[in-house]
């Protein structure tokens, strides 16, 4: 069991404790090593809150989260950063690349923070750059390349630490359909090589690449479907059907 989420609850309280908003009511699930899991849900369903908790950027009100057997809820503030660097890789919707660094340096950033030697950084980068087809843009800056290229650089940054788990937050959200397809192919490829991925998304297309899709509604895991031997197109159909059922049971999805 690589990731285990048990009875996680998150309540936001306003400063004087007068208002309570429940973002997550009771979430429990687990992810096996090597899985590619997509989490779907409407805006306000608690997806982002969940992702922040998994990333140790936020703490749950109650419940526990184990990554690689380590309880990240009770982890000490000082260890969080180094834990995040060594176990988690992030891919964001808006890439989150720093314009002050070249693409190469953006990819090196987590390694530099972990105080790795330049030689080691370079050795890790070479195969990764080849796989992601970014060798030619390494010396350019983020503002000089396209969205699809930016996201590939961001993936390189997430993977260079050899993370136990890659967390992706709407990774296709800012990309056109061609770049989205390319990105999802890359995700499929690294998944096949054994990388565990957890992706939060709106997009049925993106979710159809995953090996398992979980649906979140009203702060809890409502339903999940497995891909099994289905093709991407069949999976797409299955997800659409599920979303329709969910929608008729409540408010329409986006």
């Amino acid at each position: 069991m690589l990731l285990e989420v048990k009875n996680v609850k998150k309540v936001y309280t306003s400063r004087f404790g007068t208002n309570h908003v429940q973002a997550l009511s009771n979430v429990s699930f687990s992810v096996e090593k090597g899985e590619f899991v997509a989490i779907m849900g409407e805006s306000g369903s608690g997806k982002t809150t969940l992702l922040n908790i998994l990333a140790a950027l936020d703490k749950p009100t109650s419940g526990s989260v184990f990554i690689d057997g380590k309880d990240i809820v009770s982890i000490r503030e000082k260890e969080i950063s180094s834990f995040r660097r060594s176990h988690l890789g992030f891919v964001f919707q808006d890439f989150n690349l720093l314009d002050t660094f070249s693409n190469r340096d953006n990819i090196f950033l987590p390694l530099v923070l972990s105080r790795k030697s330049y030689k080691e950084m370079n050795e890790r980068l070479q195969p990764l750059a080849e796989k992601l087809r970014i060798q030619t843009i390494l010396n350019k800056f983020p503002y000089e390349i396209s969205g699809g290229q930016k996201q590939r650089v961001a993936i390189a940054r997430a993977l260079i630490t050899n993370p136990t788990l890659v967390l992706a937050d709407e990774p296709t959200g800012a990309l056109d359909s061609r770049a989205s397809a390319e990105l999802l192919d890359i995700f499929t490829q690294i998944h096949q090589e054994g990388q565990t991925i957890l992706m939060v998304t709106h997009s049925t297309k993106a979710a159809s690449y995953a090996s398992r899709v979980m649906f979140i509604k009203d702060g809890t895991v409502y339903h999940q479907i497995y891909k099994g031997n289905l093709s991407n197109e069949q999976m797409y159909q299955k997800i659409s059907d599920t979303l329709n059922i969910l929608a008729t049971g409540g408010a329409g999805h986006e």
Partner: protein
């Protein structure tokens, strides 16, 4: 929509932007009040009665003008900075359906409110503080003047007009900014232009070259007269150098550091170097200006303070005797008659004359080239002029109560200012051997007021001196003495004696007490102006840095958020922020201190022209000024860093 709507909106806007508006209003109040005070002092007629009062009033007028010009540049600059920060806000209004004319209305009300508050509070506080400043100025000048009026209408009107126009121009500039921009651009506002700066090698090298040349000039200037000319060239070179170094050399250097892989890819260096490249691109010109401004403040303050504190010393340098009489072309036989007049006048005021000194000499101007001295002609350069103080041996011996003997071609030499000459001295077509270099001379007197090189030379007799200068009819006579008694009486004595001497001889009389007043009005005025303007410049410096940091805080917020997600800990963020803000803050100050270090020598030479020879005092004043400036600077740094961290970590 009712009329009050816009007023309410304007008020809310100011309140919401208080982090940037409050310091701006405060600075406006400050400048308005300073302008009022300076103008108030300059129109006060009392100071005219002081000897040297005209010079003082000219200085105060100059101060008023400087404040006016500086306020314009400073407030206009900070205002345009404010409006740039707020473009996004106005873009949103625009998109939400407000027309540009409505936005203009809101901006007008805002500018109006800010203007009214600043001008009113500025004048009111100016009126209160002006009286204090009046007392302070009197104290500094050692001169009591009755306060002829408490509020100057002229000052109020001028302040109103000047700042009214200024705020109106700011308003016009604000609308221009809004009108020029499209809504989308307004929304994007500050997020433009984050590209990496190019390395400009040529400019980098020019920067190093000009700075080096400026430093070299400042360090190698020996003659005070040359110092004056060279100082300005050096200042200009250093200003160019500072700008080039901040804008080009710094970036070139940082990029070189980035190329050193093993150095660059260490956590602290990695974040700081890339951060600094980006910061220097945005701020280089501003930081260079702050550096130059700080240098000016420090130089102005340290020199005026040391001139003021060293006043007694420099008075003593300039006037070694309380009273001194100089009469041109006077024969030995007339000495008794003159001393009789002096004693008579002293007795009238019942003053005692002590330690009298008298000798006959000739002072004349030559063109110096090494140890050669030639009679000047019309083409002579003023910078090569030297003044020779020529004394016959008998006068020298009776003056110092010594019994030296000299041959015809032998001389005694005292170098008061200039290159020391040790072996031979060629004057006209005659060569003299220096028998002895005197380390001191019994009476320097008037020579200290001269800016040129000055040599005191003792010859065997009067005949030799006459042979050196064809135009010489006879030697001049000097009489000096200490006066014991009341200062008021001493002044009366000086005036009366001067009248008497002038009526029958061609000569001059100088008294220390009489000159003290004009010295105080000159140096005291400079001192007051130095403090006043120093304060104004400091306020400007601080505000500009504060705004720079705050606006950067918003940009940096996103960068640090990303780094946090990638795995930078809170402590590391704090540390990195601290070192970068520290760099940006103290780089200009550190450079300013280095500039002053190199300028120190040439400034001491310049101060020599003002008769200030106490280098220790000047060093102390310089260090003191830097420390005081540094403390204020550090306080502002602490406040700014706190605000900055709040923005970034929020």
């Amino acid at each position: 929509m009712n009329k009050l709507f816009y007023a309410k909106l304007a008020l809310t806007n100011i309140r919401n932007n208080r982090k940037t508006y409050f310091p701006f209003i405060l600075a406006s109040i400050g400048t308005v009040s300073m302008y009022y005070i300076m103008h108030f002092l300059s129109v006060n007629p009392g100071f005219k009665r002081m000897s040297g009062g005209d010079a003082l009033i000219t200085m105060l007028n100059l101060g008023t003008d400087i404040i006016a010009i500086f306020s314009f540049i400073f407030l206009f600059y900070t205002n345009s900075f404010l409006i740039k920060q707020r473009k996004k806000e106005f873009g949103l209004f625009n998109i939400l359906g407000m027309e540009k004319k409505h936005i203009v209305k809101v901006i007008f009300i805002e500018s109006f409110m800010v203007g009214i508050i600043s001008i009113t509070l500025g004048i009111v506080s100016g009126m209160v503080i002006a009286r204090l400043m009046f007392l302070l100025l009197q104290y500094i000048l050692h001169f009591t003047v009755p306060l002829t009026f408490h509020i100057s209408t002229e000052s109020v009107v001028k302040t109103l007009i000047l700042f009214g126009v200024l705020f109106f121009l700011c308003f016009l500039n604000n609308i221009r900014q809004i009108h020029l921009a499209k809504p989308v651009e307004l929304l994007k506002g500050g997020e433009m232009g984050e590209r990496e700066p190019k390395t400009r090698w040529l400019l980098s090298i020019i920067g190093l070259g000009t700075l080096g040349a400026g430093y070299y000039m400042a360090m190698t200037t020996e003659s005070p007269l040359l110092a004056f000319k060279k100082f300005f060239i050096a200042v200009i070179l250093v200003i160019i150098g500072t700008h080039a170094i901040y804008t080009a050399t710094s970036i070139a250097l940082l990029k070189l550091l980035r190329k050193k892989k093993t150095f660059y890819y260490r956590t602290e260096n990695f974040i700081n170097i890339s951060g600094m490249i980006y910061r220097m691109r945005q701020n280089a010109a501003g930081l260079a200006n702050i550096c130059i401004l700080s240098t000016m403040v420090l130089v102005t303050l340290s020199t005026t303070v040391s001139l003021y504190i060293g006043m007694e010393g420099l008075l003593k340098n300039r006037y070694p005797k309380d009273i001194s009489v100089i009469i041109q072309n006077m024969d030995r036989t007339e000495i008794e008659a003159v001393t009789n007049i002096i004693h008579e006048e002293a007795e009238k005021e019942s003053l005692q004359l002590e330690n009298p000194v008298q000798y006959r000499y000739h002072s004349t101007v030559f063109i110096q080239k090494g140890n050669r001295f030639a009679t000047p002609n019309e083409q002579s350069m003023i910078t090569n002029l030297s003044v020779l103080w020529l004394l016959p041996l008998d006068e020298f011996n009776s003056l110092g109560k010594s019994s030296v003997t000299l041959d015809d071609d032998e001389i005694l030499l005292h170098t008061f200012r200039g290159e020391e000459i040790t072996d031979h001295m060629i004057i006209g077509d005659q060569t003299f051997t220096v028998k002895e270099n005197l380390t001191s001379f019994p009476n320097i007197g008037e020579a200290s007021a001269l800016a040129a090189n000055v040599y005191f030379i003792v010859f065997k007799d009067e005949e030799i001196i006459k042979s050196l200068d064809d135009n010489l009819a006879g030697l001049s006579y000097y009489y000096g003495a200490d006066v014991k008694g009341d200062a008021e009486k001493e002044i009366a004595f000086t005036k009366a004696l001067s009248k008497k001497i002038r009526s029958s001889y061609s000569g001059t009389v100088e008294g220390l007490e009489e000159s003290r007043e004009s010295f105080y009005s000159l140096y005291g005025g400079l001192f007051f102006l130095g403090i006043f303007l120093g304060f104004l410049f400091l306020m400007a410096t601080v505000l500009i840095i504060y705004y720079k940091q705050i606006s950067e805080g918003f940009d940096d917020k996103k960068r640090f958020e990303i780094m946090k997600k990638v795995g930078l800990s809170k402590e590391e963020i704090k540390k990195s922020i601290k070192s970068q803000v520290l760099m940006v803050f103290f780089l200009p100050l550190a450079t300013a201190v280095v500039h002053i270090g190199f300028a120190f020598k040439v400034i001491t030479k310049l101060l020599e022209l003002f008769n200030l020879t106490d280098i220790g005092l000047f060093a102390l004043c310089t260090v003191g000024t830097i420390l005081a400036f540094g403390v204020i600077y550090a306080i502002i740094y602490a406040l700014t860093a706190r605000e900055y961290y709040k923005i970034v970590s929020n």
